[in-house]
Every structure is written in structure tokens, then in C-alpha cells.
């Protein structure tokens, strides 16, 4: 029993944290989100390809979610997550090819993708791809109208791929929540009202403590699910549902609370917090809502 990252996994995590912090300061996140047409640069993508990140799931689900968590923490705009899921669903994403996945008539990152797949693990061709304004500006969204032609499956283990994708998204929400918590805690230490730091008020400090409860709980659930996918597949459906239900909620509740801690400044376009709020909210509705996963938990637990 060792509920901790291995030496290698820890190295992946710290490498990702440092690299993403260097490449995606919040000013760059904002520039990509608001001013860059594709939402990422070739240099940024090529660097991730050189690191082997698009195919990191071959090392293990835990390795993938470690990077996913850091992508959420940095809020790095990148088609990497879409490419992961497309690859898991059977698309060829080797050699720097990018993928996107059609779900509910939408696909994130489809405009720059080399290959489109659907949630059943079949390639989608001949589709019209229309850019749309996303709730979360750090991720490019597209409306997809695909011809109803029969699609041939690419042969991936679709059940497993869906669980991996779901847990990956939950991991991203852990990172989003952790960063939002960090912003709130720092602000609560600095911001003074009535002559003292607002973090001395229990209404504020207890809200921050609640954030930690949710962040750490979400992390535990996500690690469990990722580990189960690699080592205890019979537990994976239940673990993945727990991870997505809990971490998806944390990913939106913590930024909401962080915004409240910030007060008015957190409501401004100029402050970066809203990017985290929007990513967390978007994630909570992707790959199955919290409600859908709670229903799944009840069913798998025998209710």
C-alpha cells in the first residue's frame, strides 16, 4: 500500500508544473484565450509533442492524469486533452497529429484537429465544423454537423477509453480548483478591510478551509480511479464515477467560492479568476454531469 506518486510520476508532475508555469503565465493564457485565433501556438504544441505528452497514456493512466491536473492548474489552452481522448478512442495521434472528439454535436479543438472521432470510437469524416463561442474561452469550441453515414469503429476498448477520458477531465478540475484556492488564500492574506486581513475573519478562512477539503478529496478520488483503471479494472467504473462526481463539483464550487473571497475584483474581466471559474463550470458539464455520475454510483453500489 503506497498512496503516493512514484519517483517517476513525481518527476512528471514537477516537470509539467515548471514547464507550464514558464510557458503559460496568466498573461499568456489570457492572450491565447482572447486574442489568438487557434488558441495555441505551433511552438507550444511542438514542445508537448517533443516531451511525448500526446501519447503519455501509454505509460499509464496515472501518468496522464498527473499531467492533466497540471494543465488545469496552469489553465494552459491546448488541444492536448482532446488529442488524448481521440487517441484513447482509437484515432492515430502519433507524430504530432491532433485529434478531437464529437460529443453532443460539439467538439472542442476540432478546428485544428487532424482527425475527428465520435464517443463510440469511430472516425468522423465529411463533417462541417463551425466555430462557436465557448463558455470557457481557454478552450476552442466547434459545432459539428456530421453526415449520418455509417461509421466504422477504430477498434479501441471504448468502455475503458471513456472512463480514462472522464477521469482525465476530473483530474483537470482538481488542478483548476487547487489554483483557484491558491489565489483565494493569497488574496485573503493580503486584502485588508476594517483594518485587518480578511483571512482573519472566519467567514472567509472557513470558506478557504472548505476549499482545501474539496481539493484534497477530489485528488484522492481521482488518483484512486486512475490507479484502478491501470491495476484493478473491475473497480474502475465505480471509481471513475466517484472521481468525476466529486472532482467535477470541486472544480466549479471552489472557483465560485474563490470569487466570493475576492469580492468585486474577482468579478472583473481584468482579473484572471473568471478563466478558472469558466473552465471548472465547463468541465462539470462535460463527460457526464455530477448528477449522471451520482446516478451511476447508486446503480453500481447496488441501489
Amino acid at each position: 500500500m503506497n498512496f503516493d506518486l512514484s519517483e517517476d510520476q513525481r518527476t512528471i508532475k514537477s516537470t509539467a508544473r515548471e514547464l507550464l508555469a514558464a510557458r503559460y503565465p496568466l498573461a499568456e493564457v489570457r492572450r491565447l484565450a482572447l486574442d489568438d485565433e487557434r488558441g495555441f501556438t505551433d511552438a507550444q504544441w511542438e514542445e508537448m509533442v517533443a516531451l511525448g505528452w500526446p501519447e503519455i497514456a501509454e505509460l499509464g493512466t496515472v501518468e496522464m492524469i498527473v499531467v492533466a491536473e497540471e494543465l488545469g492548474y496552469a489553465l494552459a489552452p491546448t488541444p492536448l486533452q482532446s488529442t488524448w481522448v481521440a487517441g484513447l478512442l482509437g484515432a492515430d495521434v502519433s507524430g504530432g497529429r491532433r485529434g478531437a472528439v464529437v460529443m453532443d454535436g460539439m467538439a472542442a479543438d476540432a478546428g485544428s484537429a487532424d482527425v475527428l472521432v465520435d464517443w463510440d470510437g469511430a472516425e468522423v469524416s465529411g463533417a462541417s465544423v463551425e466555430p462557436a463561442r465557448g463558455l470557457d474561452p481557454t478552450r476552442r469550441m466547434f459545432l459539428i454537423s456530421a453526415p449520418p453515414a455509417p461509421r466504422s469503429p477504430l477498434g479501441a476498448d471504448v468502455e475503458r477509453a471513456r472512463l480514462q477520458a472522464t477521469v482525465m477531465n476530473a483530474a483537470e478540475s482538481v488542478g483548476v480548483a487547487e489554483r483557484a484556492m491558491g489565489l483565494a488564500v493569497e488574496y485573503a492574506k493580503e486584502r485588508k478591510q476594517f483594518g485587518r486581513a480578511i483571512g482573519t475573519y472566519q467567514a472567509v478562512s472557513h470558506a478557504c478551509a472548505q476549499m482545501l477539503l474539496e481539493v484534497e478529496g477530489a485528488r484522492s478520488a481521482v488518483y484512486w480511479a486512475a490507479w484502478a483503471l491501470d491495476h484493478e479494472p473491475e473497480a474502475a467504473p465505480l471509481a471513475a464515477a466517484c472521481a468525476k462526481a466529486y472532482a467535477g463539483d470541486a472544480g466549479r464550487r471552489v472557483p465560485r467560492s474563490a470569487l466570493q473571497v475576492h469580492g468585486g475584483i474577482g468579478f472583473t474581466w481584468e482579473h484572471d479568476l473568471h478563466f478558472f471559474l469558466k473552465r471548472g463550470e465547463a468541465n462539470a458539464h462535460a463527460y457526464g454531469s455530477g448528477a449522471a455520475h451520482r446516478e451511476q454510483i447508486a446503480a453500481l453500489a447496488g441501489l
Binding site: 500500500m1 503506497n2 498512496f3 503516493d4 506518486l5 512514484s6 510520476q9 496515472v62 488564500v185 485573503a188 492574506k189 485587518r196 486581513a197 483571512g199 482573519t200 475573519y201 472566519q202 478562512s205 472557513h206 478557504c208 478551509a209 472548505q210 482545501l212 477539503l213 484534497e216 478529496g217 477530489a218 484522492s220 478520488a221 488518483y223 484512486w224 490507479w227 484502478a228 491495476h231 484493478e232 471509481a239 464515477a241 466517484c242 462526481a245 466529486y246 448528477a291 455520475h293 451520482r294 446516478e295 451511476q296 454510483i297 447508486a298 453500489a301 447496488g302 441501489l303
Partner: protein
Amino acid sequence: MDLSLSPPEREFRDAVRDWIAANHPGPEPAGDSEQFEFRRAWQRAVNERGWAGLTWPAEYGGAGGTLVEQAILFEEVARAGAPPMANILGLAMGGPTVIAHGSEEQRRRFLPPILSADEIWCQGFSEPDSGSDLASLKTRAVRDGDEWVVTGQKVWTTYAHEAKWCMLVARTDPDAPRHRGLTYFLMDMEQDAVEVRPLVQITGEAEFNELFIDGARIPHENIVGGEGNGWPVAITTLMHERAGLAFALQVSVQIALRELRDDIREAGRADDPLVRQRFGQLYAEAQVLRLNAYRGLTAISKRGAPGPEGSLGKWHWAEVNQGLTELAMDVLGPRVLIADGRWPRRFLRARANSIEGGTTEILKNIVAERVLGLPRA
């Protein structure tokens, strides 16, 4: 990362499982004192097998085992529906405190009878005017030769009527800053100057007691950790209370959740989407409790201290345990107007969960100040 048991851990689990299957004493008897003696006999059997002090050093009757083995033992006891051990406060709090802060003589004197349940322990910390603000306590101890004379009042003292020893924190220097004037004593409960009165709680039961102490005598050698050093020693006891019991508590939540699932089905409410949502949420939260407990064990065994998740267990447990009794009340509907069956009692008992052993508000203060580094109020 490896969330499975190692081969030796699996071997230990199998040994525990087999032993419990062969030695399970059956259902607990009715009646408070019958139940207590039943748990005492069970603890003796566990101790003879060498597992009552699983993680304690071998020279004091322990087995020198790992925290993971301790967790396995808790899980297997819970899985088998075996009773808890009688001397829970001695095992989970008093013993670890004596191991950490006691003298060699104290360890040899006090630890073996904790394990054998020959001497039951209770805890004299809270007072009527000192709950969350424990350091304000007023019970006085005055030196008289080789003895200390104690006068004051304690409250919420579990098992005081069965106990031989009380972990007593008293003020020995009223002029010192309030955290420095405290001393941690082991007080013999078998003396006339200690009066135990049962404290009836909202369930109608009396799990706890009040202690009225009027000139009780404690030999100087029964100070643990030195005169005036009672605060850090008391904190050790409280940390063990929260960490040591956390694992056992999360196991009991898993069992209660299974019972709740069965009761939801029996009540014909398994198709109600609102019930299913709340159950699904509680199930996920109970898994988080379990996972955080294991993460805590890994952190303690690697770094000697729990990580950030270690501060959260008791508070989160209280929320989950209260939440599941609340769902049970809603599921049972009008039937709960008749207050028999397990859920009405559990619902009432669970109200204390966010107060006992550190209120949720105090635990949030600790997390905010010591983990997040927020400024003190």
C-alpha cells in the same frame, strides 16, 4: 502509486480474517455493563493474539506492526461485525501519549494493563466553561509533598464509571501564561474525592459522565511529560484521537452506508431520483474519507506526519455521518415518528459528531491557520 496490499500485507489480512472468523464472539448483549464486559473479554482475546497494541513497541506488549496493518485490522473487525475493544481511550489516546511523553517507568507500569483491559482509561479534558477553548480550563492541582491535590469539574468523560485512570489536564501554575500553567496527570479514579455522575444525552442514553473532583490525590510520579508541560502532551492525545479514530470511523461509515442502501430498498424508495442522488453523493464522500485515511497512512509512514488531507478527516467524517443519518430519516418518512429502529437513535447521536473531539469550527480554524497559513483572528 500502489493502492493494493503488498504480499505481506495480504498475508496479514488473511491471518486476521481467519482469526476473527474462528474467534468472533457473536452479537453484543443488551445492557450497558453487560456490553462493556463483553467488549473487555473480546479485547483480552485480541490482546492474547498480540493485536490489541498492534503498532506499539514489543517491549510494552505491542506487536511493532505498521500503520497499514493497524488499518487492515480495523477494516477486518468492521467487515466481520466484531465488537469494538473496551479500552478504546487507553488504546487510541492514553497509550500513544504515554509512549510519546511518558518515562520508562510509566510505560512499563501503564501500558500492559491498557492492552489487557485490566485498567480502563478515560479522558478529563473538557470543563463546563472550557470546551473549544481548552487552555482556559480551571481545574486546579496544588502540590502537597509528593502528591498533588486536585479540585475542579470535568465533563464529557466517556467510560468514567468503568475507568481506573483518567488523563487529567489541570492548572498547576495560575500565574503562568495560560498554555504554560497546565500539567498532564494520570489520576486514579478509585478514590472517594472523585464523584462520577452520568450525563444523559439527547438520545436518552448516558455514554458520558461528569466528574466532580474535590481534593483528589495524585502522586507526583503520575505527571506525564513534566510539570507545566501539559499543553503539548494534551495536544498529542488530541492528535491521536483525531488520527487514530479517523480510520475506525471511516470503516463504520462504509458499513452504515451498506445498511442504508438495504433500508432504502426495503422502504421502496430505491427508484426515487432524489434519494439516488443523495445516496450517490454520500457514497462518493465515503470513498473520499477512506482514500484520505489511506493517503494519511502513507504520508505518516513516509514523512512522519500526515499531509494536508490528515487535518480534514474528522470534520469530513462528521459531515458524512450526519448526512447519511439525515438521508435515512427522509427515506423512512413517517415511520421515524416511532423512535425505535436504528436510524432515529443514530440520527440523534450523530448531532454530536461535529462537536465531540474538536468542533468543526475549531478544525476549520486549524486547517486555515496551520495548513493554509492564513493569519490568526
